[in-house]
């Protein structure tokens, strides 16, 4: 168990707070309502709450709100993980941070602020990545609340929590509550790992933006974004104006902006601005305080109901709330069904249509962009053999030769493969490869010479 380190000078003598402080929480904790389960026991709930330990992932726009809300929901022991430091562009919504905090750890500043403001709550910050912790660390929490901006981190914690479930041990099932926002829109969802639809089951609801083909960037740009991507991907690599691209360095962004602007001029394309350049290069998602407030509070309301049983929560039936504030207010609360062929929580391998004439390398590239896979650095094993390993280096070298081979020569139609990607956790994604075309077993050496029709741009 982790023991919080006492900071010198803090007074640790706990003076109990007057019970009057929790008047409003007690209204619902001590009085069941018409929708509360009949066997509700206020004493048992109070006891449960006092022992509960929660993990918050992310101390950004959502995370700041989540920490505040959980502290004022009566949770006493909260851990928070965030590897980021505070940037000036966070200050329009991440309300636990001040200008003087720029550059400091988000987790540490947020934890200190909420502890100071709300007496009686203990918040333990972890200024690191979620991948730095092992299963034992995650086992100590009763619930995990996520306010993340990365799909990858969500998938990692999701697969970790699914893998943690041991049917013999009810304590091993940790509800996962996840929020996300973009502009005036957002969603909150509750996952009971292995029991209900998980983040991976819902992956196709969050398809990545389609990438612009490289040949468009290189030869036929039409949009200001194409010119920026060209500067970002092609011109930077060719000219290497600085040793390493730093998205947060204004000098680097200015270089890309000027390049993009010149290129846009050559093609009579208008609309390249500094702000757009920054937006495209950093993949900036608009974010405002009010939407974060809505989604974070929705997540914490569900966490509170799950922890206290004061009212029914999202989870077993409806498990997903969509919110949109663009045109009036529209919410849609529904049940996302668990998928039997979910690579993380299902038992069946998922069917994947593939062209057997693709090389293994092409197949691997395609896994990154397929909405239902989104695997960026996958290692692949078939039932019979290891096809490609990203690491360790010795295995990568040993298997690299397979990259040029055609899929049809490596696996048979209908064969099951296991795909793993360490950035997404220890899970093996199971796919059953279905050939969409017949396999033309052309030897690798003569590839390309049979069509004689040039290559794709």
């Amino acid at each position: 168990m982790s023991q919080p380190v006492m900071v010198s000078g803090t007074i640790s003598a706990q003076v109990p707070l007057p019970e009057e402080r929790w008047t409003y929480l007690n209204n619902v904790l001590q009085h069941p309502g018409p929708f509360t389960e009949p066997d509700y026991d206020a004493n048992e709930v109070a006891d449960r709450m006092s022992k509960m330990k929660l993990l918050v992932i992310g101390a950004g726009g959502l995370g700041c709100e989540i920490l505040k809300n959980l502290a004022l929901s009566g949770f006493k022991d909260i851990h928070v993980i965030d590897m980021d430091t505070i940037d000036v562009s966070n200050l329009n919504r991440q309300f636990l941070f001040r200008h003087s905090d720029v550059g400091k750890s988000k987790a540490e500043v947020a934890a200190r602020f909420v502890e100071k403001r709300v007496k009686g709550v203990k918040i333990t910050p972890h200024n690191c990545k979620i991948q730095d912790f092992d299963d034992d660390f995650y086992m100590q929490f009763q619930m995990v609340v996520c306010g993340l901006d990365s799909i990858e981190a969500r998938r990692w914690i999701n697969s970790t929590l699914v893998n943690l479930v041991d049917e013999e041990n009810p304590e091993s099932l940790k509800p996962l509550i996840d929020g996300g926002t973009e502009g005036f829109k957002g969603q909150s969802r509750v996952v009971f790992p292995t029991m209900t639809s998980c983040i991976e089951c819902q992956l196709d609801m969050h398809a990545p933006r389609a990438a612009v083909p490289l040949c468009t960037l290189a030869t036929i740009p039409r949009q200001p974004e194409h010119c920026i991507e060209w500067a970002h991907i092609i011109a930077w690599e060719q000219e290497k104006p600085f040793p390493k691209l730093d998205n947060d360095d204004p000098e680097h962004i200015t270089w890309l902006y000027k390049k993009a602007l010149t290129r846009a001029g050559e093609f009579n394309i208008t609309g390249v601005t500094y702000s757009l350049t920054q937006g495209v290069v950093k993949n900036i998602i608009p974010a405002i305080a009010s939407t974060n407030a809505i989604i974070a509070a929705s997540c914490c309301n569900e966490a509170f109901k799950i922890a206290t049983s004061t009212n029914p929560s999202l989870g077993l039936e409806e498990n997903y709330m969509m919110y949109s504030g663009n045109d009036s207010i529209y919410t849609y609360t529904f049940k996302h069904e668990k998928k039997a062929d979910c690579p993380v929580c299902g038992n069946l391998a998922r069917d994947l249509d593939v062209d057997p004439n693709l090389t293994l390398d092409e197949f691997i590239q395609s896994l990154a962009v397929r909405p239902e896979a989104q695997l960026k650095k996958p290692s692949i094993r078939s039932e019979a053999k290891t096809l490609y390993m990203q690491s360790p280096e010795s295995l990568r070298l040993k298997t690299a030769a397979n990259l040029e081979k055609k899929l049809g020569g490596l696996v048979v139609d209908g064969e099951e493969v296991g795909v793993s990607d360490p950035s997404l956790g220890a899970v093996d994604f199971k796919y059953k490869l279905k050939f969409s075309k017949s396999f033309a077993a052309t030897p690798v050496a003569t590839r390309g010479s049979t069509t004689g029709n040039g290559t794709a741009a």
Binding site: L91, N92, K305, P312, G325, D327
Partner: protein, 531 residues
């Protein structure tokens, strides 16, 4: 040929200002114009009760940089406040709550000015309405006295100031927007997928000629050229052929799917990919673009409305009338002029874009001419007319709320309608009405600690069947359980929703609710109703 239009003023090479850096993530939503409107605004919160939902709303407005805010609240800070309100601390106990909240809110953004009321024991909140202070918007929370509520609403009507009432208790909340007059919006930010308007069924001369020049000898084009004909030109080409063969353009669903197959069959398959991307795009665009859009009902509502004398001098109504005349003459709205990205050579795409832009400019010029002929149209900014023309299909009118509309009779009619819908809800797989929550909460506006039977008794005044309607009884019990107290999560969530609405109204961007939003924290649902 159309002229090639280049941007006359290349942007200046400079990085963002400090303010642009701080507000970057929101400027991408409402731009500098919206930000300016926020910075010019002054919000008054009349706070009461457990006092959290209004303060949470203000937090979400102070952070993005509202100009000024004032909190009016005569309560002093007690123990219970510290368990629900984040913008109070131990040092505040026994002090004036308005002053303490202002102090801790103001820390969030040094660019915002906060003020509190009353400053001394002799001041009463009613003095705020003597006319010395100007407010952009007023928020008040329940509980409140009837006299104070009526004073605020009257002030809002007289001074043309929107008033939002907010009520959060236990797991429930609602808020109600009183707009003193009609509220028209031009910059509604429709989803980009909804805005494509290519006029493929009614191409004008320049577009037809350009498209034909790309497809004249389509069979003999090289693989590269054939694969880069923009889909707009492909569809115009096949539409012309279809008309030659059928005499009319495809109009029914069946004809359109047949037309789609026809387009698909034009793709060459002897390519390395076995098809052509531009043809794939054309096929995908058929159902969406081969239709005459008709006049959206929200635009029809604007056209049908007769502005009153005061409204009719506003630029919105003068431009709307000019666009109506344009529509009556051409049976179509002005062209927005944007072209979605599509597979094409750069030069061809830019030429196509310019053809659409030129036509949009021509349409806007015609509207501007009508505007100028109006006695008060001389001073209207031409940029405003252009922006109106670009958004013409998406303009929206939210009707003002007259307090008489929330009369007991209206509540009764609304209740009957909602419960009738509920009877069919399971069959339609529709969620149940949240109106019982509104009825129960609003029954405690003046008496926050009412018990369930008091609440039902009050509801009976407007809805006699209350006691025998289980959903009303349950809602009343749940409201009584909260005993007038807020739960932080529900108030934080409601404060987020109210802040979004305040921003939408102040910036005149996006579309605010009309006019009441009810939130159920048990089922995690909202419902918007006009009450």
């Amino acid at each position: 040929m159309t002229e090639v239009i280049t941007d006359p003023t290349p942007p200046i090479l400079h990085g963002p200002s400090d303010k642009e850096k701080k507000y970057d993530r929101q400027l991408r939503l409402w731009a500098a114009s919206g930000q300016q409107a926020l910075e010019d605004a002054h919000i008054l919160l009349i706070n009461s009760g457990s006092g959290t939902v209004g303060v949470e709303t203000l937090k979400n407005l102070v952070l993005p940089g509202i100009g000024k805010f004032t909190i009016a609240d005569e309560n002093t800070v007690g123990q219970a406040d510290l368990g629900v309100n984040f913008f109070l601390d131990e040092d505040c106990l026994g002090k004036l709550r308005s002053e303490c909240c202002v102090r801790l809110l103001q820390e969030l953004n040094p660019d915002v000015q906060g003020n509190w009321f009353p400053k001394n024991k002799n001041e009463t909140i009613e003095q705020l309405f003597d006319g010395t202070m100007q407010f952009t918007m007023i928020l008040y929370t329940a509980p409140i006295t009837r006299a104070r509520m009526e004073l605020v609403l009257k002030y809002g009507q007289q001074r043309n100031v929107p008033v939002i009432s907010i009520h959060s208790a236990g797991f429930y909340s609602y808020f109600h927007i009183n707009l003193p007059g009609n509220f028209p919006i031009v910059d509604t930010h429709p989803d980009s997928t909804a805005t494509t308007d290519l006029r493929l069924l009614t191409p004008w001369k320049e577009l037809s000629h350009f498209a034909a020049s790309l497809t004249d000898n389509i069979q003999s084009l090289s693989a590269h050229e054939h694969g880069h004909i923009p889909y707009v030109a492909l569809l115009l080409h096949y539409l012309a052929k279809w008309k030659e063969e059928h005499g009319t353009l495809p109009s029914t669903y069946k004809e359109k799917t047949a037309f789609r197959s026809r387009v698909a069959s034009g793709a060459r398959t002897d390519t390395p990919e076995g098809g052509e991307e531009n043809f794939d795009e054309a096929v995908a665009a058929v159902l969406k673009t081969i239709s005459s859009p008709g006049l959206p009902s929200s635009v029809r509502e604007v056209f049908d409305y007769t502005p009153n004398k005061m409204e009719s001098t506003a630029s919105f109504w003068i431009i709307a009338d000019a666009i109506k005349q344009f529509y009556n003459k051409h049976n179509t709205l002005p062209l927005p002029g944007s072209v979605p990205d599509m597979k094409a050579q750069s030069t061809v795409y830019v030429q196509l874009q310019n053809i659409y832009k030129a036509k949009a400019r021509q349409d806007a010029a015609e509207v501007l001419k009508t505007v100028r002929s109006h006695p008060r149209g001389k001073d209207i900014n031409s940029a405003e007319v252009e922006s109106f023309c670009k958004n013409a299909a998406f303009i929206k009118l939210i009707r003002g709320s007259k307090s008489s509309e929330a009369s007991p009779t209206n509540i009764k009619v609304l209740a009957e309608r909602e419960f009738e819908n509920d009877a069919n809800a399971p069959m339609m797989a529709m969620p149940l009405s949240l109106f019982p929550i509104y009825l129960s909460l609003s029954a405690t506006t003046f008496y926050p600690t009412s018990d369930a039977s008091d609440i039902i008794g009050t509801i009976k005044n407007v809805f006699p069947d209350a006691a025998s309607t289980p959903r009303v009884v349950e809602a009343a019990e749940e409201v009584a359980r909260a005993n007038g107290g807020e739960l932080h999560n529900i108030s934080a969530l409601t404060g987020g929703m109210v802040a979004q609405e305040v921003i939408k109204i102040i910036t005149k961007q996006y579309i605010p609710i009309d006019n009441t939003c009810i939130f159920d924290g048990i089922t995690s649902r909202t419902q918007v109703l006009r009450i």
